[in-house]
């Protein structure tokens, strides 16, 4: 969604959406209030109409076999309870003939006289009216049948009452809504308070502040504080590791540089030209070592950086290893080293970072070459691990590493054999790569007599 990309105010969004919801509810309730108001007004004035028509009924009398009406004053006086409404009435005898009142009142379409009043709406003389028909069954010998009293009233009072009820209901609803909005505003602000507090605290902290954030009693916020603290701690740890690494790296580079410098100084001051080639060779060796050290440092930094940023994608490990071994064989073609490769697995795809994995295996192969004898045998294997995933195994026939020194060998800038020109970073890089893939690096005894380096990569091999 695009909204997640653009910045937005949580407070405003919460408020506006809740307000929208409230408005919808208000509209719905208003509709209800309108219906109720209409019903209430109709109910009230229908009762008035009914009472007045019953009162007119009281004035009915039969004289000389004819139905007549003595219209009671109270009937129409009662109708003045709706003071601004016109009143129309009509009385019909059992034969349906007009007796008195207005003789042209509109009649309902279907009407059956009964004891119950019959209400209907109609227009008369240009105005909408509400009518009631009240019927009474006469059973006198001369006249028998239904006498009908029709009474109508204009709608002013109904409308006034309806508007009044509606107005008051809407006023109450509106007040309620405003109250709810105010409560909402208050509530949202209160709910977001811890966020502002945390951001304020974070802003005020100096970069070197190692104290974790104070814990909060609010259940919903404490995970956030925990996460920030945990993140902060990891950052500090990384920073610490970086510091150590930089200190170590600069020490190593300075040492190598000053050794080279010393050889150069000696070479430039010597009087014996015969020794020059030998000194030059020493300088070259030392420079090679410096170059290698620099490369390894950069490779290490690259591997660490990639492990932080790259996501793992399935790659064909088998193909990668074959390619690496091919390169290695080509590089060391002038030496008497025996390379071998085994892979029995049908499919060797695994989520991994091609570049860093390549660097790691490359290092293992280089180490095997570097620390092994001239007639070394180096076996590269890709096997399924016992606990799932894959193991990349490099065996050699060298001297190996004594078990008690293996831990040390994995640390940065630790070289076990001082005579060999190692940087002390190779295995450290491999281990970083293994960790970046969630795996591990194991140093074991090789059946060939030398060292076995086993790089374990977890994850389902398919």
């Amino acid at each position: 969604m695009s909204t997640t990309k653009r910045g937005y105010s949580l407070r405003r969004r919460l408020l506006s959406r809740t307000a929208l919801l409230l408005v919808a509810v208000l509209l719905l309730l208003s509709l209800g209030a309108w219906r109720y108001a209409r019903q209430a007004a109709d109910y009230s004035y229908d009762r008035l109409l009914n009472s007045a028509s019953l009162s007119i009924m009281e004035g009915l009398l039969v004289r000389n076999g004819r139905v007549d009406l003595d219209l009671p004053y109270a009937a129409l006086e009662m109708m003045q309870l709706a003071p601004d409404d016109k009143v129309f009435y009509q009385v019909r005898n059992p034969q349906g003939e007009w007796i008195t009142g207005y003789d042209d009142l509109p009649q309902p379409e279907t009407f059956e006289p009964s004891d119950k009043p019959f209400f209907y709406d109609a227009r008369y003389r240009g105005e909408p009216l509400r009518f009631v028909i009240q019927s009474k069954r006469l059973t006198e010998p001369a006249v028998s049948g239904w006498v009908q009293v029709t009474l109508g009233q204009t709608l002013n009072a109904r409308r006034e009452l309806m508007v009044d009820i509606l107005y008051k209901a809407l006023l109450a609803l509106l007040g309620l809504m405003l109250l709810a909005l105010a409560a909402l505003w208050f509530g949202i602000n209160r709910a977001l308070d811890p966020l502002s507090l945390i951001s304020r605290t974070l802003k005020q902290r100096s970069a070197g502040d190692t104290e974790p954030l104070a814990q909060t009693p609010i259940q919903e916020v404490s995970p956030l504080v925990d996460a920030i603290n945990s993140y902060h701690r990891r950052l500090l740890d990384n920073l610490e590791a970086m510091k150590t690494f930089i200190a170590d790296a600069s020490h190593q580079i300075r040492t190598a540089q000053s050794a080279t410098q010393a050889q150069l100084d000696i070479a430039s001051q010597t009087n014996d030209p015969a020794t020059l080639p030998q000194r030059l060779d020493t300088i070259r060796q030392q420079h090679l070592q410096l170059t290698r050290l620099t490369n390894q440092l950069l490779a290490h930094a690259m591997v660490v950086h990639r492990s932080d940023t790259q996501s793992l994608e399935p790659i064909d490990i088998d193909a990668l290893l074959k390619q690496l071994l091919t390169e290695c064989v080509r590089d060391h073609a002038h030496r008497d080293i025996d390379f071998a490769y085994h892979c029995d697995l049908p499919h060797c795809s695994l989520p991994a970072d091609r570049v860093s994995l390549r660097e790691a295996v490359r290092n293992l192969l280089d180490n095997a070459v570097r620390y092994g004898p001239d007639d070394n045998q180096i076996d590269l294997q890709l096997v399924a691990a016992a606990n799932g995933g894959l193991d990349i195994i490099v065996d050699d026939r060298g001297t190996g590493i004594a078990p008690h020194l293996r831990r040390q060998a994995l640390q940065r800038f630790s070289r076990l054999a001082t005579e060999a020109s190692g940087s002390g970073l190779g295995l450290s890089i491999v281990q970083s790569v293994a960790e970046a893939h969630g795996g591990d690096l194991f140093l074991e005894n090789s059946p060939l007599g030398g060292l076995r380096a086993r790089l374990h990569l977890p994850g389902g091999s398919t």
Binding site: D68, L69, D70, L71, P72, Y73, A75, L76, E77, M79, Q80, P83, D84, D85, K86, V87, F88, I99, T100, G101, R125, G126, E127, N156
Partner: protein
């Protein structure tokens, strides 16, 4: 109520604004009214003075004739304004849809009972009173309540016989209104009607004829007369006196409405606004014949002046659909027949 024979339609046309003044406004306001011309004339003159651009044409009718006239009109020929003291008939016309609404700030100061639906407006305050001949009543106690009157009529039959007058409810609209409202308001009305019958009450069509007869001494007492005319006459004529009954006094209000099909509704609104305004009401309070309804109006013909001495129990007739009850065909037939039986039970009376 009329100075002339009521059965005749008298059209008294008063062009209040000179014809020459009719310039830009064009149409005059046409007023059909059941009010004596002299009573309304001060108001018309004041209106003309305040609105020189608008002419007002005034035609006088009897209340019943006016009602029939309006009902018989088709689409053409409507007046702009209809004025009548027969409140019930006016309410009926409004109920039947002959009126158009008029909403104006000027209505705020008027009492609620004198306004129905913002269509019918009462603009005067005319108590229904007893009128007596002062000379005839010299040394006699004056009946100050309806009960007093009923008792006096019974106990002093000889004095009152053939010398009591009232309206003929069959021909006088306002007479019918006050007689029916008497029946609604008072439990005494039956007894009083009977007593009036025993005294061989004479019936007249109009207030003016009744007042003439009382002043001349033909009658000693007039029952249920419009107080506005009576008070105005009593001011000019020392022979007659007016009693505002203490137990209750009905108050009739002359009702005006603008017709729905008024040819000049704007002019009608201007006239009605003036009539109901403090300014117009003060003209009525100063000049008499009518009595001003406006609570702030002062003068000899204001509510203030009526309530000056005593504290009568005024009972204004409320404008509303209840007034139509006695207009019901059966009800009217029944009432008139009862009234005839009670008041005119001796048809051979002179």
């Amino acid at each position: 109520m009329k100075k002339r024979l009521c059965s005749l339609l008298l059209m008294l046309i008063i062009l209040v604004a000179p014809a020459l003044a009719e310039t830009d406004e064009g149409d005059p306001v046409l007023i059909y009214s059941a009010t004596d011309a002299p009573a309304i004339q001060p108001v018309l003159e004041a209106f003309r003075a305040a609105n020189p651009d608008l002419a007002a044409e005034y035609r006088e009718f009897n209340t019943m004739e006016l009602h029939e006239r309006i009902k018989s009109l088709e689409d053409e020929g409507y007046p702009d304004l209809v004025i009548s003291s027969a409140m019930d008939l006016q309410v009926r016309l409004v109920n039947d849809g002959f009126a158009r609404p008029f909403d104006d700030p000027v209505l705020d100061e008027l009492p609620a009972w004198a306004n129905w639906r913002n269509e019918a407006f009462g603009f005067s305050y005319e108590p229904v009173v007893f009128v007596y001949n002062k000379a005839a009543f010299a040394g006699r106690p004056l009946p100050t309540t309806h009960e007093d009157l009923a008792t006096a009529l019974r106990s002093d039959g000889a004095f009152f016989q053939h010398r009591v007058g009232s309206y003929d409810v069959r021909t006088s609209g306002v007479g019918y209104l006050v007689a029916t409202q008497d029946e609604v308001t008072s439990s005494l009305s039956g007894r009083l009607k009977e007593s009036l019958g025993r005294a061989f009450t004479q019936v007249y069509c109009c207030t003016s004829q009744l007042l003439d007869a009382i002043a001349e001494g033909d009658l000693v007492l007039g029952y249920n007369l419009l107080g506005s005319y009576a008070l105005a006459r009593a001011q000019r004529d020392p022979r007659i006196g007016v009693i505002v009954p203490e137990d209750y006094a009905l108050v009739v209000s002359r009702v005006a409405f603008i017709t729905k099909k008024a040819p000049n509704p704007g002019g009608a609104e201007r006239f009605l606004r003036f009539l109901l305004s403090f300014q117009g009401q003060q003209v009525i309070a100063d000049n008499g014949e009518l009595i001003a309804l406006h609570p702030r109006a002062t003068g000899p013909f204001s509510i203030d002046a009526l309530t000056g001495e005593q504290l009568p129990n005024f009972h204004p007739i409320v404008l509303g659909p209840a007034l139509m009850v006695y207009l019901d065909q059966s009800k009217r037939r029944r009432f008139i027949s009862e009234w005839q039986n009670a008041l005119l039970y001796d048809p051979v009376a002179p």
